[in-house]
């Protein structure tokens, strides 16, 4: 993944106006679909009542494991709870876990990377060795280690995923920071006598953080999967909360009889992550000044 540098990074992405824009999107159905789906997921996360008429935790044991039908769009689970409602209400857990952990990782990574880029040789070496160490094990193992220390639960899982993502972000920020630090406009600003703090705040940080923003967006999908995986293992969001990974874990006991319970949560996760991926790539392509094919 290339990182743009210098003036190109400063060039604002202009708004395209008029019919051209609509025509452009019409020829890219994938992008439109992804955007629409993601919008749907966001609505589900923010205002689930708009999409689902039933409560996600309203049990009705007499109607357990019903097939999809008029009363229940996607059928019911083993306690008679409406699967569609649970799916819709579950969006907020998966989405918030993904967003919060990536945002946290972004913040931590930005700080870490900036320290490495701007703090001098020793800080650079130490920070990067630290990053090497963190990146030397698989992210899920790192997350598991954090959960082992802190205990299960959504807050701790957020921290765990953030810990596993931050070093990667730090690396990118560092590289970009080094490039920007040595660029002409920063040299100019320093020569003009601006204080170091002002230089960092006004010139370095904005140019370093835009590629980070793209990276963060592209990693939200990975965070969502990581959060769902940890919940699937029983370490993240706890039932009765209908987080999608937790729903999949509960569906395992019914694979023989009602495997539909296992289809929809997984599909939801996959489609959400694909949509984020498509949009993220578009963002990256825009940022790098070319159109993705």
């Amino acid at each position: 993944m290339t990182v743009a540098s210098g003036p190109a990074a400063l060039a604002p992405v202009g708004l395209r106006e008029g019919r051209g824009r609509v025509a452009r999107y019409a020829s890219r159905p994938g992008l439109v679909l992804a955007g629409a789906f993601l919008a749907l997921v966001c609505v589900a996360a923010a205002w689930p009542g708009l999409l689902a008429s039933q409560a996600p935790n309203a049990i009705n044991p007499a109607y357990a494991l019903q097939n999809p039908g008029a009363a229940h769009l996607l059928g019911t689970d083993q306690l008679g709870r409406d699967s569609f409602a649970r799916l819709v209400y579950g969006a907020r857990y998966s989405l918030s876990l993904g967003l919060a952990s990536t945002a946290l990782a972004g913040l931590a990574g930005a700080g870490w990377g900036l320290i490495a880029a701007l703090g001098g040789k020793v800080a650079d070496e130490v920070s990067m060795r630290l990053a090497d160490i963190f990146m030397s094990f698989p992210s899920i193992l790192l997350a598991l280690l954090v959960v082992a220390v802190l205990g299960p639960g959504p807050r701790n899982v957020t921290v765990a995923i953030a810990v596993s993502l931050a070093p990667g972000f730090a690396r990118v920020v560092r590289v970009q920071g080094l490039v920007v630090k040595n660029s002409e406009y920063v040299t100019a600003a320093t020569a003009l006598g601006l204080r170091r703090r002002t230089v960092i705040a006004r010139h370095i940080a904005p140019n370093v953080l835009s590629p980070l923003a793209v990276l963060v967006t592209m990693n939200v999908g990975a965070s969502i999967i990581a959060g769902a995986s940890l919940s699937f293992l029983g370490l993240g969001v706890q039932p009765p909360a209908s987080e999608w990974g937790a729903m999949l874990a509960q569906s395992r006991d019914y694979l023989q009889n009602d495997w539909a319970l296992a289809v929809f949560p997984g599909l939801a996760i996959t489609l959400t992550v694909i949509s984020i991926g498509v949009l993220g790539r578009e963002l990256q392509a825009r940022f790098e000044g070319r159109t993705a094919s």
Binding site: N57, P61, L79, G234, Q238
Partner: protein, 566 residues
Amino acid sequence: MSARKQAVAGGGPVRQDHAGGRARPTRPILAAAALLLAVGPVAACTGSAAATAAGKSSSPVSGGTFTYAIDSAQLTLDPGVSVSAVTGFIDRNIFDSLVVQTGPGSFGPWLANRWTVSPDGKTYTFYLRSGVKFQDGTPFTAAAVKATLDHIANPASKSAYAISLLGPYVGATVVNALTVQIHLSSAFSPFLQALSTPFLGIQSPVELAKPAADYTPVGTGPFTFVSWPQHQDVNLVRNPGYTSPPSNAAHRGIAYLSALHFDEVSEDATRYGALTSGQVQGIEDVPPIDVKTLEQTPGFYTQSDFLPGLNYMLFFNTTSGPLADVLVRQALSASVDVPALVQGLYFGQFKVAEGPLSPDTADWSDSASAALTSYDPAKAVKLLEEAGWTTIDAAGYRVKDGQQLNLVWPYPAALNRQQRDVLAQGIQAYAKKVGINIERPTVDLGTLVSDFLAGKFDIADAAFARPSPDGLRFAFDSTQTYAKGGANVVGLDSAQVDGWLNAATATSSPAVAATAYANVQKYVLANAYVLPLYTPSLISGYTSAVHGISYDAQAYPQFYDAWLSS
């Protein structure tokens, strides 16, 4: 010997009654009375057609490895320490007991040929079988019996169950190599029944003398322990030197099966799939939703039986927190539609429980269930308001003096089975409707133990299978605290209840015991110390190649007489 042993033709499982628990009645009249008493709660034995239809009498074949899938991991294989019934039934194959329970109140010789009891009920003398060896070669003598019982009674062993079975055990004396005297501080009628359980199975004194970290289970039983990889699966191999089957076994001599594997498969669907695909020959806990399907599938059969003992129920911590108030406890009881939940989740395979004891246990009191606060949400709301929980906050939960009505119910995921976590979600949902917030934090076992010891919980849940109403003492006697290896987590400390329980264990009159136990059940229900949920049924599934599985008094399968046809 049991008067009611049902044999099923063609190698189906042999059933024994297990509604028992009184000590040996000394007179024929009492014996008849005991039999009559046990007539009522006879277990309904159900099995699929395949079991009874195997009309051709096949003779046992020696050899073969039997793999049985269990649904939870074992914490320890030391029967004197473990509280898990599944560990008990695995250990049943490794250890023999002094006596075997052959009927509701009758016991037969096993490692002991005969025994006498002193008139005051405080001294038992056992005359032991000769020529028996432990699997490590040590000869079986009175010293081994003493070592086993002392090991259980020793606080350093941290026995979580067997110590309560021992009751008022004081010590044992080795009279000679084959005679041992056991001393109790008071008469204790469940003692023989206790001695018949695998938890008091006789262990090799040489093994017990080793440091706890090096412990492996060594007994005199038909199968020898081989390995316990990753503390999940348990591998046993036939003991070629086995000479001590119990008096009611179907054959003498060594076991037919050459090896036994207990594989842990905790996911229901996977365990069931392992049976139907032929990867294992038997499974524990056939998922209730699949029982009917399995019974109709050719090549398989099921055996199910309701477990005697304490039902699966919620225990309420009455020493602190909102549940110290009996009105709140009764309200919680009234808020949950237990029958709907149990029927819905278990498809009729588990019985809805209406009291602390399973109906298949002796001295189960039918009338006590009238004292249970059953489902009545309006009544629940009334009780809560009467208790002062009148305000409802934005989240829908009740508030009093600025405190939300929060109950903590720790969830040890490692011990989960029979969809109990899903049942809990159902209970949470019902409680929420009347404004009670039940939280289920996931905890590891170490934290669970600390929480119980510190009283940092409001609700606990458990079931204890045992063919004796003595389980009531285990759970409600004031001396049976959790710290001392008991199950009295509710914090019940009532001289009245203790009096009833002591009367029941000291007496040899079944009528006195029945009344005393009935009183305990009524009291416990009236004061809502527990919320009974269901009577578990041990539903085992087998391939048709499996024959000769018998069931002990505790309704757990036994493999000594089992054999595999090709």
